[in-house]
């Protein structure tokens, strides 16, 4: 009796698995389909582009610059990436072609060092001046206020005479 029940159970299980397999064969794929990115992707290109500035459109990083010149530069980056160039090689290529001024981060040479040294030095100097100023203000605030000598009121001559007259009459 037990054997028959077991057999029935396995037969039921077999049918369930078969049905599941059948449905999965004809069911639409549940994988999310997205638009294919060009190779190399825009993200790859922009990762390098944001380290460059086109001299035509100063102050606009290459990755967000809308001009035709910048579009051409981004395509140049894509082309070099597709050819297997590294980021350093591409940046160097742009420096060779258009000069070091295209780099977002100026190379650490010559007067360019000022861009790296001046801001932190100015910040530290400012902090030091502020610290000294605050210390002197605090010292002034902590100084006890010396008691002022009592002010001796000098009676007005007219008031004195008036009082004297009142006393006489009163």
């Amino acid at each position: 009796m037990k054997q028959v029940k077991k057999k029935k159970f396995f037969r039921f299980l077999f049918f369930v698995l078969l049905l599941t397999a059948g449905f999965s064969l004809f069911a639409p794929p549940s994988v999310k389909v997205v638009a294919q990115q060009p190779t190399p992707s825009d993200d790859d290109v922009n990762a390098i582009a944001r380290k460059l500035y086109c001299p035509v459109c100063e102050n606009t990083p290459l990755d967000v610059c809308p001009t035709q010149a910048c579009k051409q530069w981004r395509e140049e980056i894509r082309l070099r990436l597709a050819q297997g160039w590294t980021e350093e090689e591409i940046l160097q290529y742009f420096v060779d072609q258009y000069g070091a001024r295209v780099l977002a981060e100026p190379p650490r040479t010559g007067l360019n060092w000022l861009a790296y040294i001046v801001p932190p030095v100015a910040f530290l100097l400012g902090a030091y001046i502020l610290f000294r100023a605050m210390r002197s203000w605090r010292a002034l605030a902590n100084q006890p206020v010396e008691a002022e000598p009592p002010v001796v009121e000098e009676k007005d001559e007219y008031v004195s005479r008036l009082e004297e007259e009142l006393r006489k009459r009163g």
Partner: protein, 196 residues
Amino acid sequence: MTENSNETLTPAPRRSVPLWAQILVWIGLLGLLVILAIGLLRTQQGTIQAGQVVDDFELAFFDGYDYNGQETVNLSDLRGKVVVVNFWASWCKPCEQEAADLEEAWRYYEPTGEVVFLGVDYVDTEPEARSYLAKFEITFPNGADRGTKISQYFRIEGVPETYFIDRQGVLREIQTGPFQSTQDIIEIVDALLAEE
């Protein structure tokens, strides 16, 4: 007690910044101001002025372009000739407006050997530059402004810009923006050729 209170009343001696540090800070500040002033003056200078001798520069030509069979040219090699230096770019629409006029003027003067046209491609990518040259059938020597050195020397303010250099290497005329006709170019070049 009174002594103590007197002590507290005495103000702490004020430590001043050493003199050498003060001098150093002032020198630093002055230096920065000088650099800033130089930078501002440079940006406000505009293009180089007519009447000054143009410094030597080297232009390497695109493949397929040459001057007397050479792949590069130095301005100093062109003394005795009238030189027309034209800055352009493939992304520049006004440049397209004058491309045909420049080519026509070049073809007019080329047989004389008295005039040299140099096309300097500014901040461009080579494939697009080549397409542009092919599209307008430009035949006069053209090359990229490598490192933007030439354009920085001329302090160009945009493209197109054209500079006319006389036989003595002196800058004589500057055309900012596109030419309206081939005749405009010819008039300037003829005037320079007429000079001894």
